[in-house]
Each structure stands twice: as structure tokens, then as C-alpha cells.
């Protein structure tokens, strides 16, 4: 029996070690660092600066607003996508087409938009074709939101699609047998039943959208418009790790809030 115990311990050790070193320690360190200023003195001033100076609060509000817009746009585009695909004959094949772009490196997709949105890029050419004067599109907030939504859409479609394929056909048939219109079936049956999918989609999309610093750098220009950009700026450019950690702690807290709002008790699907 003792032998068996040590054998089991063998499995625990590396994993627990990993949990302690790479999950718990880093989070603890980031919280710890948020109480130190640039001269390694213990202080609350990072938090004071964060909550008293308008710039950080505005930036947080902006960041949340952008993430919200990105999430809403992706839901609006993804929900009908998931709905239609879940009813196609070869839906597995179609959903594969949704997944494929997620396997393409994110940076390459962002880079593509630098070309597409540039002054003489394809989008402006199309605009001119329809008689709209060419616009400066790169390095605007709107282009940042659209490109971010573009990148997030597959991650929104997949959980919604999964929850749609979970709905048994008999519910849909029952609802139409009882005289519901297609619209009623959609709003009364399908949407409520796919709520868990929408929620996990929001979780997957909203949190990263708060921190997409490479996109805001490449597409949004050099302005610091998201919490993620601010963290990157403080850690890698101004080397003020204390302030960076403070913003990081704010990010972690917003993440926890989003998780609490969107957590549905999902039971393992295995029977």
C-alpha cells in the first residue's frame, strides 16, 4: 500500500509543481509588484495614480467599451452563421471552414489588414469604385474594432454552434406542431437554449479583447487605447513594472467579473 501511495505521488508531483510555479507564483508576484514603485519602494501610489488620474480611468472605460463593441459585433455576425451552419447537410465540413482561419497565425491576419486598409489598399479601391473618396482607415479606432471582431468571430461561432447542435430536433418539431412561427421558435426555444453557448462565446471573446495589444499597435496606431497596450507599454517600454502590474491586477479583476457573469454550470457531457 505504501508502495502504491508513492507511485501515485509520482503523478502529483510534476503537475502540482507546475501549478505552484507557473500558476500561483506568477499571479502572486504580479499582485506583489503592484505595490512597488519604480524605485522598489513599497507604496500604494500605483493604485492611487490609477484611480485618481483621469487618464487611466478613461483608458479603462475605453478598453471596456471597445471590448464590448467587439463582442457585440461578433455575436451579431456569428449567431446567424452558427444557426445556418447547424442546419446544413454537411455541417461538419462547414464548421471546419470556420475553424481553419483560427489556425492561421494571428499576426499574419493583422498584417493582411495593414495591406487591405492602407491608403491605396483593396478597401479604398472598392470605395473609389463606388464613388466614395479614399479614407484614412489604418490607425483608427474603428479599424481596430473591426479587425478585432474579424479575428474573434470564429471563437464566437464555435461555442454557439456547439450549443445549437445540442438542441434535440424534437423541441423544434414540438414547437412547430404547437403552432409556433419560425420567429417564435427562434426567440422562445433556440435562443434561450443556446444561452450557455453565447455566454462561453462572450467569455472567450471579451477577455482577450481587453488585452489585444498587438492589434492596437499594428492597426490602431501607437495610441494606448486598451488595458493590454498599457501593460505592454509599462513592462517593455517605460520599465515601470509596478504600474504595469497594477493595470494587470485591474485586468485580472475584470476577468474574474466577466467569468462570474458568464459562468454557467456546465456539466461534463459524458454520460
Amino acid at each position: 500500500m505504501a508502495m502504491k501511495k508513492s507511485f501515485k505521488g509520482l503523478f502529483y508531483t510534476p503537475y502540482i509543481l507546475w501549478l505552484a510555479m507557473f500558476v500561483i507564483a506568477p499571479v502572486a508576484l504580479i499582485i506583489y509588484y503592484s505595490f512597488f514603485d519604480i524605485h522598489h519602494q513599497f507604496t500604494f501610489s500605483n493604485y492611487r495614480v490609477f484611480f485618481e488620474s483621469g487618464t487611466y480611468l478613461t483608458m479603462t472605460a475605453n478598453s471596456v467599451l471597445y471590448a464590448f463593441l467587439i463582442t457585440v459585433i461578433s455575436i451579431l455576425i456569428s449567431y446567424p452563421m452558427a444557426l445556418v451552419i447547424s442546419r446544413l447537410k454537411h455541417r461538419d465540413l462547414w464548421i471546419l471552414l470556420v475553424i481553419l482561419p483560427t489556425w492561421i497565425n494571428l499576426l499574419l491576419k493583422a498584417y493582411a489588414f495593414i495591406g487591405l486598409l492602407s491608403r491605396d489598399g483593396l478597401v479604398n479601391n472598392l470605395f473609389e469604385f463606388f464613388g466614395i473618396p479614399a479614407q484614412q482607415m489604418l490607425f483608427t479606432d474603428a479599424s481596430f474594432i473591426l479587425v478585432a471582431a474579424y479575428i474573434q468571430i470564429p471563437f464566437m461561432i464555435l461555442p454557439i454552434y456547439n450549443s445549437m447542435t445540442d438542441i434535440s430536433d424534437s423541441y423544434i418539431r414540438a414547437s412547430s406542431d404547437l403552432g409556433a412561427t419560425k420567429w417564435q421558435t427562434l426567440t422562445k426555444i433556440i435562443i434561450p437554449m443556446t444561452m450557455p453557448g453565447i455566454k462561453s462565446g462572450i467569455q472567450i471573446v471579451f477577455i482577450p479583447s481587453l488585452s489585444l495589444f498587438m492589434l492596437s499597435r499594428l492597426i490602431g496606431g501607437n495610441k494606448i487605447i486598451t488595458l493590454g497596450t498599457a501593460v505592454e507599454e509599462h513592462f517593455l517600454t517605460t520599465m515601470n513594472w509596478g504600474m504595469g502590474s497594477t493595470i494587470g491586477v485591474v485586468l485580472i479583476i475584470s476577468m474574474v467579473v466577466v467569468m462570474l457573469f458568464t459562468n454557467t454550470k456546465r456539466k461534463g457531457r459524458r454520460s
Partner: protein, 273 residues
């Protein structure tokens, strides 16, 4: 009610698919352009691919990226599988839930937080930034996904299999190597594969912990893209697109194999960035 998608619906998804794929094909088409920008297509050439293959620095970065991906996936698969067995063996439900929520922290945290906290961690340990810090970070953020791919397989395994083996006098090692591992092997392979794609796809974490000397493809693309357009990156995109297609192909072959070996798969795995 007919269960088919309407004409309008089909039109809609075709439209969205076109939008989804347009940037990717736009990149690849211009990789064959004679010009220097992504504005006017000036005739067909393979010169950008020539440039890319002649670029020794790019080749070294490519090999480093692959090396990091393979090594980190190997280690994370080993540790993740052990973790899955550990979680599976927990007796108390409450303990299992705690382990699983700790496991998912790295999966849901924003990349910048993982990157920044690992940077602090490595600096506190006085570990120099470079190959090793990148490798350790990749192993660290790949472990939870491997665990999530292996654990369902373990939970599916009937306890009577183990009991029977024990009754027949098998040792713990024999049970592990003859019963458990073969049974969960499909999950392990899928986990290894997901780990590779996580590694290849990562930008933010690597960007934080890479220091000056060492670069991966994502970081290199980022720093080049910040300087503007160079059609060599387009050529790289072309190659990486083919590469992704091959990876997807292999992955689905494995999944289909799993499917035919009795596992019912009706969930789509969501690769993360």
C-alpha cells in the same frame, strides 16, 4: 417545419465566409506580385519566395520556432497527462473541482497577464531571457490544454478494467503501461497536437519573455509588420497557410481515427490563440 437552411441563410454564410477568407487570400495573392506593396498587382513572380528561402535569419527563426513547438509540446504532454491522471485519481469531488479551476486559470487569462507575470517570475529567479524562458513559458501554458484533452478519456475508462487487472495480479506499472496509457492514447495525441498549435500561434507571451537574442516567427512578423509592408512576409504567409492546412489535415485524421475507435465526438475543439 423544414429543417433546412433558407436561401437567404446560405447566401449569408457564403458572404461571411468570403469576408473571412479574403484577407488570407489577399496576402497569398500578393506574395506572387512583382511590386513591393499590397496595392497593385504587377505581374507574377516567385522572387519573394526566393528571397524568403535565401534569408538565413528567417530560416533560423523558423527552425527555432519548430524546435520550441516540438519540445514544449513533448514536455507539456508528459506533465499534462500526469496531471490528468492525478486529477482523475482524486477521491473528493471538491478537490477535483479546485484542481480543475486552478488548471483553467492559464487558459482564460489574457496573454499579456501571462506574459507579464512570467517575465516577473523569470526575472525574480534570475533566469536569463531567451530560448529557455520561452521554452518554459510554452510548456507552462500548454499543460492545461493537454490535461483537458486527456481527462475525458480517463473518465470514460471503466473502473472495472483496472479492478480486473488488479485481481489478476498486475502491478501499478503494468496497469499504467498495459491498460491506462493505451486507452487514453488518442487523448494524449490530440493534446500533443493542440499543444503544438498553441505554441506556433503564440505571440504575446513569447513577446514578453523572449529578451533580445531569441525570436520566434510570430515575434519576427510583428516587428517586421511594424516597419511596414514587405512582400517577403506575404510569401511567409503562403508557406504558413500550407503548413496550417497540413496540420489541420493531420489533426482531423487523428480525430477521425479516434471516432472510429469508439469515441463519439460531437464537440468541436476550440483552438485558442
Amino acid at each position: 417545419m423544414d429543417n433546412r437552411a433558407s436561401k437567404l441563410g446560405k447566401f449569408y454564410i457564403i458572404f461571411v465566409f468570403l469576408l473571412m477568407y479574403m484577407p488570407i487570400f489577399y496576402l497569398i495573392i500578393y506574395s506572387f506580385s512583382k511590386g513591393t506593396t499590397m496595392a497593385n498587382f504587377d505581374g507574377f513572380t516567385l522572387s519573394h519566395y526566393g528571397e524568403l528561402f535565401a534569408d538565413k535569419r528567417m530560416l533560423a527563426i523558423f527552425l527555432d520556432t519548430i524546435l520550441i513547438a516540438l519540445l514544449s509540446s513533448l514536455f507539456s504532454t508528459i506533465i499534462g497527462t500526469m496531471g490528468a491522471i492525478a486529477v482523475h485519481n482524486t477521491k473528493r469531488r471538491h478537490q477535483r473541482e479546485t484542481l480543475l479551476s486552478l488548471n483553467s486559470i492559464l487558459l482564460v487569462s489574457p496573454d499579456v497577464i501571462i506574459g507579464a507575470s512570467f517575465l516577473i517570475f523569470f526575472t525574480a529567479l534570475k533566469l536569463p531571457l531567451g530560448f529557455w524562458s520561452v521554452l518554459l513559458s510554452h510548456i507552462a501554458f500548454e499543460i492545461p490544454i493537454v490535461l483537458l484533452m486527456v481527462l475525458p478519456r480517463l473518465d470514460e475508462m471503466s473502473p472495472s478494467l483496472i479492478n480486473a487487472a488488479m485481481d489478476l495480479g498486475a502491478t501499478s506499472t503494468q496497469i499504467l503501461s498495459k491498460i491506462t496509457l493505451p486507452f487514453i492514447q488518442p487523448g494524449i495525441i490530440a493534446g500533443f497536437f493542440m499543444a503544438i498549435t498553441y505554441s506556433l500561434d503564440d505571440f504575446a507571451v513569447t513577446f514578453f519573455v523572449t529578451g533580445n537574442g531569441f525570436t520566434t516567427l510570430s515575434v519576427e512578423i510583428y516587428s517586421r509588420a511594424r516597419q511596414g509592408i514587405s512582400l517577403e512576409i506575404n510569401a511567409l504567409a503562403g508557406i504558413m497557410f500550407i503548413f496550417s492546412l497540413v496540420l489541420v489535415g493531420i489533426y482531423y485524421l487523428i480525430e477521425n481515427h479516434n471516432l472510429s475507435s469508439g469515441r463519439k465526438l460531437d464537440r468541436v475543439e476550440v483552438p485558442d490563440r
